[in-house]
């Protein structure tokens, strides 16, 4: 028999190679390039100029604020609405399967498609604006409030909430179906009212799933590219959009700034994930 450590090593080798080379390696290369390293070119020197320049750039500051705002608002809305949708569907007596299928229908739709749908729905000449016109509320596209390419990022948030509510909802539904009703009945016989049953029976059961999904929603909405590109403004744009703008610049001199932004995104997401895990862990333990 092959010794155990060797066996485990062989099993892990392919995945660790892919992740190590592309993920860790890619990140390390990004850090190096953000510090001035120019692969395959002579005459580069180490420096932190890129970080200094993005720090000084008001566009980047506005971008950080926008990216955080969009990610936080989307995550909170999707989490609250997702949990509410799951609780609602769980208590439905008729058409439960149908409503679940409707909720789940946005899950497999690519975000790019979602972004297009929001464009066709929310833009000044979109469906809602036409409905407003038909209802006599507005007289022209310009009268309709700017929901796309706006300062706040309404359409971006709407797209994220549309898809991620379903994600949170379906995961919570999966945890709810496992015998929650019997537990609630048991709590009822012990004298627990509706709020107490939610607080002491349902919430502890769904908390880990809600924590995990909302974390993923935040990380995704923070780092996503195509949705803000289609539905947002060119200025301020979210961090990934700005990073790729720098990267696609014909002037190779802006490469270090692009890399610095990529590093900032990765570090911010990493930091938020760690902080979130620490607090949510405590929260999940407390509700139990």
């Amino acid at each position: 028999m092959t010794p155990r450590p060797v066996r485990i090593g062989l099993l892990l080798a392919p995945a660790l190679t892919v992740v190590g080379a592309l993920f860790l390696g890619g990140f390390a290369l990004g850090v190096a390039q953000s510090l001035g390293y120019l692969p395959f070119l002579d005459g580069w020197t180490w420096s932190v100029d890129a970080y200094r320049s993005i720090w000084a750039d008001p566009a980047v500051r506005a971008s950080v604020a926008l990216t955080f705002r969009v990610a936080v608002v989307s995550t909170v809305l999707a989490t609250v609405l997702g949990v509410a949708a799951a609780l609602l569907i769980h208590r439905l007596r008729t058409a439960r399967r149908l409503v679940t299928a409707v909720l789940a229908s946005t899950l497999p739709v690519p975000h790019l498609v979602g972004a297009l749908a929001m464009l066709l729905l929310l833009s000044p000449s979109g469906l809602l604006s036409r409905v407003a016109y038909s209802a006599g509320i507005t007289d022209a596209p310009a009268d309709f409030p700017a929901l796309t390419a706006d300062e706040f990022g309404v359409a971006i948030i709407a797209e994220y909430v549309w898809k991620e509510t379903a994600f949170v909802g379906i995961v919570v539904l999966a945890t709810l179906s496992a015998g929650v009703d019997e537990l609630e009945t048991a709590a009822r016989t012990l004298g627990a009212g509706p709020w107490q049953r939610f607080r002491h029976v349902v919430l502890p059961l769904i908390a880990p799933g809600v924590a995990a999904t909302s974390l993923l929603v935040f990380a995704f909405t923070f780092g996503s590219y195509e949705v803000p590109l289609l539905l947002g403004r060119p200025f301020p744009a979210t961090l990934p959009v700005v990073a790729l703008q720098y990267h696609q610049d014909v002037d190779l001199g802006s490469r270090p700034q692009a890399m610095a932004l990529a590093v900032v995104i990765a570090v911010l997401v990493g930091a938020v994930v760690l902080a979130y895990m620490a607090t949510v862990d405590r929260f999940v333990r407390r509700v139990r």
Binding site: A104, P110, Y133, F167, P240, V273
Partner: protein, 264 residues
Amino acid sequence: MRRPLATWVLVVGVLLPFVPLAGWAVSGRWEYPALVPQQLSGRGLGLLTDPGSRVLSGLLTSLTIGVVVTVLALLVGTPAGRALGLYTFRGKRGVQFLVLAPAIVPGLAVLLGTQVFFLRYGLADTVAGVVLVHLVPTVPYVTLVTASAFANLDVGYEDQARVLGAGPARVFVHVTLPLLRPALVVAGFFAFLISWSEYVLTLLIGGGTVQTLPLLLFAFVRGADLTEAAAVALLLSAPPLVLVGLVVRHLPRGHGPLIGLGRL
């Protein structure tokens, strides 16, 4: 009576964005402020079957990349799932963290630095290069799903098969593989869907030369031909909807396998 109202709000809210999408796909003319298309047309949907359009070649590229990525991700991710699901070993938490990190940290942020190397070694603008970067978001997911399947796998079955005369390879083929089939099907479907929906990594490494359907859709949206764009959007959404509809019944218990949905 609040419950039916809330249910209707939910259903309408979810389905509303599909309405203009479907409308544009079949419209010939739909100007502001008309509520319904002024003219219906098969132009958008006809595009999907027109060999002269770029849509069919985009579809082929997307399918090729998706299938190859799925096979590779299963081959690379499943052994790691076995190691993480069946064994405890020193450094396991670290390995877990490392293998699953790409599922959380945005791919663009870590892969931006590799583009120049893909370019240098002739992998940029190639299908092979795109396949390689698509492994980053898919392998962690396959590992996650198979690890939970292996953790629930009763190794007694494998022992029993050994005692009944099956060597390691035949145990794998006749016992382990059939027992893991639901998990592998789910992992494979989602690996395919993640690759199928991927936009920014394809753009970064494929450089616009490798034209998958999402890139094509983006080009159509930017080209302001909304009928073309809506038709391609429907084509892009149809296979995932069908696939998820098929596998959703077979999802293993627990929410681990569902997490991949958040990546789509």
